[in-house]
Symmetry: C2
Subunit: 382 residues, 2 copies
Amino acid sequence: MVNYMECQDYGLTRNTERDNLNLNPLQRGGVLPIEARKALVEYSDGYSVCDYCAGRLDQIPNPSITGFLDDLAKFINVDHARTTHGARESKFAIMHALCNPGDTIIVDGNAHYTTHVAAERNKLEMIEVPNSGDSEYKITPEKYQQTLEDAIDKGIDVKLALLTHVDGNYGNLTDAKGIGKVAHKAGIPIILNCAYSMGRLPIDAKSLDMDFVVGSGHKSMAASGPIGVLGLKEEYADKVLELSKRHKVKELEMLGCTSRGAPIATLMASLPHVAERVKHWDEEVQKTRNFVSQMEEIEGITQVGIRPKEHDLTRFETPIFDEIAEKHPRRGFFLYEELKKRNIVGIKRGQTKWFKCSTYGFSQEQVNYIADSFKEIVEKYI
Amino acid sequence: MVNYMECQDYGLTRNTERDNLNLNPLQRGGVLPIEARKALVEYSDGYSVCDYCAGRLDQIPNPSITGFLDDLAKFINVDHARTTHGARESKFAIMHALCNPGDTIIVDGNAHYTTHVAAERNKLEMIEVPNSGDSEYKITPEKYQQTLEDAIDKGIDVKLALLTHVDGNYGNLTDAKGIGKVAHKAGIPIILNCAYSMGRLPIDAKSLDMDFVVGSGHKSMAASGPIGVLGLKEEYADKVLELSKRHKVKELEMLGCTSRGAPIATLMASLPHVAERVKHWDEEVQKTRNFVSQMEEIEGITQVGIRPKEHDLTRFETPIFDEIAEKHPRRGFFLYEELKKRNIVGIKRGQTKWFKCSTYGFSQEQVNYIADSFKEIVEKYI
């Protein structure tokens, strides 16, 4: 009988965030404020948000998911907002509703792997707009337009466009409005992937000329994962929010209902906090620029991607650490270990040539401590 | 500027479960044990389980998602186990991997709406095996076989079969082993939808002759929603767990990664608890049978579906309450209100002709109190 089993110890304690300054950009925007921690405890059980459901998650009055979705739609300026299980699930759903297997879409060359995987799962072909390739790795409207026009000239019917608002490699903020215009000039609907922007900086889908915006609750909206946002224009509601023929109130691309329990409760509780924090986005950008200038005081450390920074996700090339690693008895692990001693984590173990990091949400004092720690480590070995 | 917004009050307090006995079958199997509540708090932040990820969620060593998935696979006796966002997402993924738009599948007539919606989103045709239609609403291997053979005789190429292990309307436990054989005799792979069984009663996929089993963490495995289980035989791993051509470690149908954060942390923490509780399934069945016999002492209340009960989800026809409602000043709302006064909830407001309920997880004393309350309400008005 298989059920008389001994389970392993899964080690379900997480001290990483509690005891350290975590520089992993993935983690910075998903830390819950106190009001979300309370909601988490209230709505911990399985189908907790469904006590008053009359058949549709998005219309539940208590807790007011319906009121929340109205606010969310206003927050990002879209006609309809839904929650999904993540930005990737939002992208998959839009592609699935608008395209058929074999169709072609255009995406920027800095797109997240989940964009590729969502397209591949939908059996779509992808045309990619190359980035500038110099030390900025920039995606420009001009290049987007040129790539799109080249494809159209070749007779390719491009069904859908996607732009990564802020990419996960360089933290480059793209000219969404400019690229939105390019897509619409060619009559192509466009998705803005805001996984690294929605919840960190203000998003106004209509003024950015976007048909769809997708966001990530766990990445940038102070919510417990997994939860995503899907915002869209009325024009595409009949396709993306199409109802089941058999179960008349159920939205097909949502498989009826999406988020239940802790993720949606925390996203709801965090929205007022998030709506407030995006007002202070310029302070976060200033803090990042200050961090970059402190880091670049170290010879052998250079920020790559757009300069000056327009987002907290920052990529550094760090030949100096690679040089130290060559002679260090712990080789590439020394950097991780030296940082860990100083209660700084989030840079991958063994990585010394380059790394990505973020100081989003840290105080200026913490930022100074982090930059000083890097300086101290270099001085120790050089 | 849209972001200077006032959010509504979403009412994020849930007293329903805290202050009452909740008879909603949807809620009974998703209540977290204390160890899961602790894990919830530990892993509350966004991407909390991803601190030590090297590219694949299912291989994360700390917390040991990899160890957990091994245990989970043993628990349900499958070659591979994955977590998804819910049983519906598991069903969608299997159908998506194995079928093409326009293909036909066979499902039982008591299937959950999410089975229909998953098929419809995949643009599949469905053949349905009717239930017995008498007061038992039973799905039998004989009828399944006959319906399947009729379809094959008509030249229909049936690509996939699905059976609902325990349905959500009558709580009927089906003869999975018998129907598994029927499907395999015809050379058709079969999915067992265990949303109402996995985590409540022992599931052994191989001995039930099932290629796929899907489960629901929030419905029956004491986890915070949304999270599902997908278990499969080695034979189908190349299709259902197919890797991306571009991102070699990412599983396409999982869109790379699925559950992050609170849902998976709670499912992991609950597995030992769940593995223990399925051993006591016979006690739950006995408790349900006792509840039914107490309820049927009331004239005008009859349990429908298979008799005697083999699952906690129970449907009663209750003409007696309908009769009271006709004369009551509060009409159909009286039952809900009378129960609420006695701190019993989970029966839909306004419903008096029939209702579904479950006493899963309650003590015998609580069961007696619930049955006595129904008796008291009838006596008050008749």
